[in-house]
């Protein structure tokens, strides 16, 4: 489904990614782990079109999608959830979700659907709150939910457990497990493999911008 071929990325003299290649099958969850600075986030951003590779290609269903802008990648079904949640600060939780759904539905329908989704994810109690007044855990869930609301084919979750306490790790994990059960294709990154156990079908270890273990 998704093929990454010889992707490299350099910033100035620093090589962040060195010839990274891997395949992702339909319905598969890939766990990408490695220490901080190993290039996991950069790789995810390149797949999502947020960053462009210095060389190499990304294919989706054999279609070359290298360096397509993120909004085009979303249309193709590849969505990235940021490591540090980037929710829309001026909006309420409900509006945050509804604005994503507005890409596909009318304003009224989007709000209705957003309410339903928040209820499904046990977030309806904060629906009317502005995002600056919600906790980090809630913010993380909202970030994932926003990405999920685009109805993705491939969901890229960048360090979804970073900075969360045990209770929130459990909550986020539970939602990701649910997405996995739905058969969603995902790549999840973390700096620890243990946290991804039982979540991923396959693991890749990154270090110094390279895949060192698969």
């Amino acid at each position: 489904m998704l093929k990454v071929r010889n992707v490299s990325k350099s910033k100035g003299r620093v090589m962040i990614l060195k010839n990274v290649s891997f395949d992702l099958e339909d319905g598969e969850t890939l766990g990408l782990f490695g220490p901080n600075g190993s290039g996991k986030s950069t790789l995810m951003k390149i797949i999502a079109g947020i960053e462009t590779p210095s060389c190499g290609k990304v294919f989706l269903d054999d279609l070359d999608v290298t360096a397509l802008p993120p909004e085009k990648m979303v249309k193709l079904g590849v969505v990235y959830a940021f490591q540090i949640p980037r929710n829309f600060r001026e909006m309420t939780v409900l509006e945050n979700l509804a604005v994503v759904l507005m890409n596909y539905h009318s304003v009224d329908e989007s709000f209705k659907l957003a309410r339903r989704m928040l209820r499904d994810w046990d977030l309806d109690y904060i629906a009317e709150r502005k995002v600056e007044f919600i906790s980090h855990g809630e913010s993380r869930l909202l970030e994932i939910l926003k990405a999920y609301a685009t109805n993705p084919r491939v969901l890229l979750l960048d360090e979804p457990f970073a900075g969360l306490d045990v209770e929130n790790v459990f909550k986020v994990r539970e939602k990701i497990e649910r997405l996995r059960e739905e058969g969603l294709t995902m790549i999840i990154t973390s700096h620890r493999r243990r946290i991804l156990s039982n979540l991923a079908d396959r693991f890749l270890k990154m270090e110094g911008g390279k895949i060192v273990e698969s």
């Binding site: 909004e71 979303v74 940021f82 980037r86 829309f88 604005v99 304003v107 007044f133 990405a147 609301a149």
Partner: protein, 285 residues
Amino acid sequence: MRFLIYVVAALLPFLLKGYVSWLIGLALIYATISISWAILENEGRVSMGHSFVVGSSAYLSAITYLLFNSLAAGFLISIPLSAILFYILKRTTGKTAFVFATFTLSLLSYVIAPYIVIEEKGGEEGFFILHDLPSLLISSFSFVASAIVFESFLKSKLGYFARAIKSDELASRAVGIEVEKVKLTTSVISSAIGSFAGLSLALYFSHVSPEIFSLEVSVFPFISYVVTGGRKEYIAFTSIALFLISSYLNALLTGAHLLLYAMLLIFSPKIGGWVYAKGQERLKV
């Protein structure tokens, strides 16, 4: 409810008489300028030279009227011209430099305007538009029409997308919002309303001069916005009130209204912060 107040405000000049009626008519034009400004701000672009959109429209209207005896031509030229210019400015300058670029452009227009002379008319004295159109009706109509567009815009997909872009452009793109398309559309709407206000202003005075590009016209919407504490849905009412107060002050002592503007700008973080905090209190569930 707000719609009703818009209509009442637009009817006021007809219910009142003399100078007050004239003044409220002018306040409606300034409120239209503020609405035009607020649409752009909704998307995160703060224009400090919004007088350029207003002024260029007014000037073009006057010049085309003089050359072709047609007011519509000026309006039809100024909308796409302003929209294209705003779009190019955004593309080339980015979010932060946009403020500087629009301000510079407005200043440049102010400097150039006195030298625009057509058939020995214009220059420092500007251009006269001798017409028998109902100016008060035009200003009221342009106010209500822009207010309706503004309210619809805030509740539309485009309005929500614009707010998302203002919050975080990259995050907006990452959830599939077509940022450039939204920016172009908001530019067109904003400059269309600004152009409409410029035309109304030209017709209201039957005259345009370089003062139309003044800093005062540019900062007025910003000050109105500051007073609302960021709640732009109230910018039209704030603008009307601010314009009337500043006109009163100016009548008492020439230039005193500028002191009010300066005070509001100096204390803007405190005023804006206080009004914002009040608004937020009810959102803390």
